[in-house]
Symmetry: C2
Subunit: 240 residues, 2 copies
Amino acid sequence: MSTLLKIDTCFSPYLYPIYADTESIVVVIDVFRATSAICVAFAHGAEKIIPVATLEEALQYQKQGFLAGAERDAVKIEGFDFGNSPYDYMSPHIKGKTIALTTTNGTQAIEAARHAHKVVIGSFLNIDVLCQWLVNQNRNILLLCSGWKNKFNIEDSLFAGAVTHQLLKSNHSYALGDGCLAMKYLYEIGKEKPTKFFNHSTHKERFAKLHLKKDIRYCLVPNSAPVVPILNGSYLVNAL
Amino acid sequence: MSTLLKIDTCFSPYLYPIYADTESIVVVIDVFRATSAICVAFAHGAEKIIPVATLEEALQYQKQGFLAGAERDAVKIEGFDFGNSPYDYMSPHIKGKTIALTTTNGTQAIEAARHAHKVVIGSFLNIDVLCQWLVNQNRNILLLCSGWKNKFNIEDSLFAGAVTHQLLKSNHSYALGDGCLAMKYLYEIGKEKPTKFFNHSTHKERFAKLHLKKDIRYCLVPNSAPVVPILNGSYLVNAL
């Protein structure tokens, strides 16, 4: 019998201080679309991604010759190389490159968790390798949902449920926080047809008229980007 | 066609500033056990309940001759008249009385929401009359879960799902925040047997060895206390 490890879910970066400890691995989740885009960038050979909180910081990196991505309110900011669409990062030009990135929610969540034991990036695009990596670490886990401007959102929470569901099938015994328990049940009823939830969720309002259907579909397909982005000081690298 | 009203759920008093507006009615929820106990007290004829944040304040009221209830970490504090068990408030002696009350989570959530348009108290014990009252107000609604020490808990969240489920059966059209959407689905899969969730939830750990099984069962039975406690300045009264 292995040790009883803990998994919990924090539904907003604003709540992170309540859940933070120095022992857990934090998985930052922003399914639509920052953490999906980050996974795609590493799967296409990016060497480093520097998450930054402000547009100004991203611009400074760009002026120094780095590539830079910037999104606010689901829209790419003019003058930057990328927004936060996964499709922006499917270019062969990013191979070996360092990219500075700032987004509405995802990079803010990374910033919040910066001092955790380890910080990794989760999305449906890397779920299997991420879960395997988490199991191998043999540590407590905190799933940190980026949410939407610090409010609960359903896509990040469902992903937390998907990770919980998958970790419970591993050899470890995990004690679940109530957030994981609720989202595991929700994921299990929705997993055959996750669009069931998304057709009613607020992302429709958030993303209205932005023609993001193709992005949203892509972000829900598992395992197209089998990487484990991990925070190493001020930047992310692929742990695999 | 009536106006499209909004319902959202906030899963922690700590997150309340993110969800707060001056227009919504806030429903404070602490199923295990403060808001259940408050409903029972009014159903047994209490005239006013004064929610206070600290033990010291509750003690001051007691010294002035009021009845006073105090709970911390699920335990009644010595020297006070009541804890937060619903059974504590089933006495004929509370008829017409004013009671000062402080608890770990529920009274803190009331304190957080104090400046909302209106603040009412929700529990399974008053769910039908509460929902009918909410429908009659014809206003946006925020369901504020007290949680456990500012963390998400499953009993308050499921109750938020139960209220959402019930309001959607009314004549109003409600737009749901993602928290309501998720909890409505969860409630609908669990409503035949809510203990399905509770057998695995962290309340077992929180309430371990405290012999609270009877309380917990009681707090999940709908409509035994058909009252609508509402905040009127510094104290609660029954709106019905």
